[in-house]
């Protein structure tokens, strides 16, 4: 049980997919104009990550090592298509705002890298928690960026007016880049204060 908690925590902060691993950055800029969109996409990613991790973990002995990458891609595409269809059917209002990005979850590097690095070697339960942790970490990253952008850009949180603030650049694409840059730097700074070392930040893909 202890290990599972560690796996969850690991995805949330120490190996946060967005700020630490610098993976799957596209949606972090694109959909984070409002917390609602960020949360929504994050939940979709959690589902895809957990379901794919579990599928790969269960069937890992049947997947020939030479075709493992195409096999992973098909598994991810399968679950993305399922989520895509379910969301478009049951919540068309929110879906239409982030439609393209739901479909693009297929190419989010974070998912396939977790399958390759973790789920293909470990049993079902740890794979589940690893997938869940990464998914939650991703959602957390999206929510943080979108909360900052929505607050400063529109003066709202969750679509509710808080203050009369309109700093338009935050809502524009440029704002997304600025916010992620600064949040990443803040993460580095915190780690520097705790460990006394500047981490060699990301750049992975």
């Amino acid at each position: 049980m202890n290990r599972n908690v560690t796996l969850l925590w690991n995805g949330l902060i120490p190996e946060n997919p967005i700020f630490r691993l610098a993976l799957s950055l596209c949606p972090a800029v694109a959909v984070t104009t409002s917390v609602k969109n960020g949360l929504y996409l994050g939940i979709a990613v959690i589902f895809v990550q957990v379901l794919s991790s579990c599928t790969v973990s269960i069937f890992k002995s049947l997947i020939h090592p030479r075709i493992r990458i195409p096999a992973y891609v098909i598994v991810i595409a399968l679950w993305v298509s399922v989520i895509d269809m379910v969301l478009s059917a049951y919540d068309p209002h929110t879906y239409e705002k982030i439609e393209l990005f739901i479909k693009l979850i297929v190419v989010f590097a974070i998912i396939i890298s977790r399958l390759e690095l973790f789920a293909s070697k470990e049993p079902l339960v740890p794979s589940f928690f690893d997938g869940l942790g990464m998914g939650i970490g991703f959602t957390f990253g999206l929510c943080l960026v979108s909360a900052i952008r929505e607050f400063f850009g529109l003066g709202q949180i969750f679509g509710q007016d808080i203050v009369d603030l309109k700093f338009l650049v935050m809502i524009l694409p440029a704002g997304g880049f600025f916010v992620i840059g600064f949040v990443m730097a803040t993460f580095n700074w915190i780690e520097y204060k705790i460990t006394g070392k500047i981490p060699a930040s990301g750049g992975g893909h």
Partner: protein
């Protein structure tokens, strides 16, 4: 240096393709053209009678989807040879839609020749060029659509790698856009299997990349050594999947899909090159320790994105 030579060759091939394709494209443009937003020019090919042409009742003009709603013609002017006529309108025309001009009982040298129809729309070539420009600059995938960022940040440290990646990506992008278009139009839509499009598109890209990898390895080991590394990375670039999806969503035709893919590829290459140029300089700059690496790259990209905002609304035709 060899990469540059290869880039030149690739550019020539594209140019050649465009030149070959342009007559085919131009032919569909029809026999009339917009002059200004309130004028249409049509050419009869033979001299027509002035008294006939001056009568605005002989012309009926409407937008193609609304054949029952006529646009009032204010006046008609003939050129000195009486071959081309310019129709003037009171209201400005909607240049993005197609108009039909019906000329009733065309009369030439006193003889009535029967009615003729002219189709007027923005030239296909102009539309395609507009699309290319849009995909490259106005809707630049990296700076305004925020796609392909993983590769963008990962490979833009050096100018040389950025150029290599840009070229490889553009080639793969164009070809896979065409293949995906064909698959979507002739297989998926024909059989009502739209819901399989995500799996099919990503499968196409993966297989295609694998094929290029194998062929290049055998045919041109030198080029493979230069570009092989990037090939593998391409499958994780969102743009490669986003372009076929957008093509399908917007119902683009074959030429439009090709041009959209080309624009996306070139736009990505431009973004990579710009970014790499800045990052090479950044290496020498004194950046605060916590901002070193990715954080400052993000801030720079934000500045680029702001600059690219200036392209929006740009239209040449």
């Amino acid at each position: 240096m060899n990469i540059c030579r290869f880039a030149m060759k690739a550019a020539w091939v594209f140019l050649l393709l465009l030149v070959i394709a342009s007559p085919v494209i131009a032919e569909t443009a029809g026999s009339g053209a917009f002059k200004k937003d309130k004028e249409i020019e049509i050419s009869f090919g033979i001299p027509v009678d002035e008294s006939w042409a001056k009568n605005t009742n002989n012309f009926s003009v409407f937008e193609k989807p609304d054949p029952d709603i006529k646009v009032a013609v204010e006046s008609v002017e003939l050129d000195s040879r009486r071959v081309t006529a310019v129709l003037k309108f009171k209201e400005s025309l909607n240049l993005s839609s197609e108009y039909v001009v019906e000329a009733k009982d065309v009369s030439s040298e006193g003889k009535v020749l029967g009615s003729r129809e002219f189709f007027v729309k923005k030239g296909q070539f102009q539309i395609l060029f507009g699309l290319l420009l849009a995909a490259m600059l106005i809707e630049n995938f990296v700076f305004t659509k925020y796609l392909g960022l993983c590769i963008f940040f990962g490979v833009s440290q050096k100018k040389e790698t950025a150029v290599g990646m840009g070229i490889t990506f553009t080639l793969v992008m164009v070809l896979s856009a065409i293949i995906s278009w064909a698959l979507y139009t002739y297989v998926l839509r024909a059989l009502h299997l739209d819901f399989l499009k995500i799996i099919v598109f990503i499968g196409t890209v993966a297989i295609f990349v694998q094929a290029v990898d194998t062929i290049l390895r055998k045919v041109n080991p030198y080029l493979f050594k230069k570009l092989g590394v990037y090939l593998v990375l391409i499958t994780t670039n969102c743009i490669i999947l986003a372009v076929p999806l957008l093509n399908a969503d917007r119902n683009y035709g074959a030429f439009e899909s090709l041009i959209f893919g080309l624009g996306a590829g070139v736009g990505f290459a431009i973004a990579m090159f710009l970014m790499a140029s800045v990052r090479e300089k950044l290496e020498l700059a004194r950046v605060p320790a916590t901002f070193k690496g990715l954080p400052i790259a993000f801030v720079v990209t934000g500045l680029f994105a702001l600059a690219f905002l200036g392209f929006s609304g740009l239209s040449i035709f």
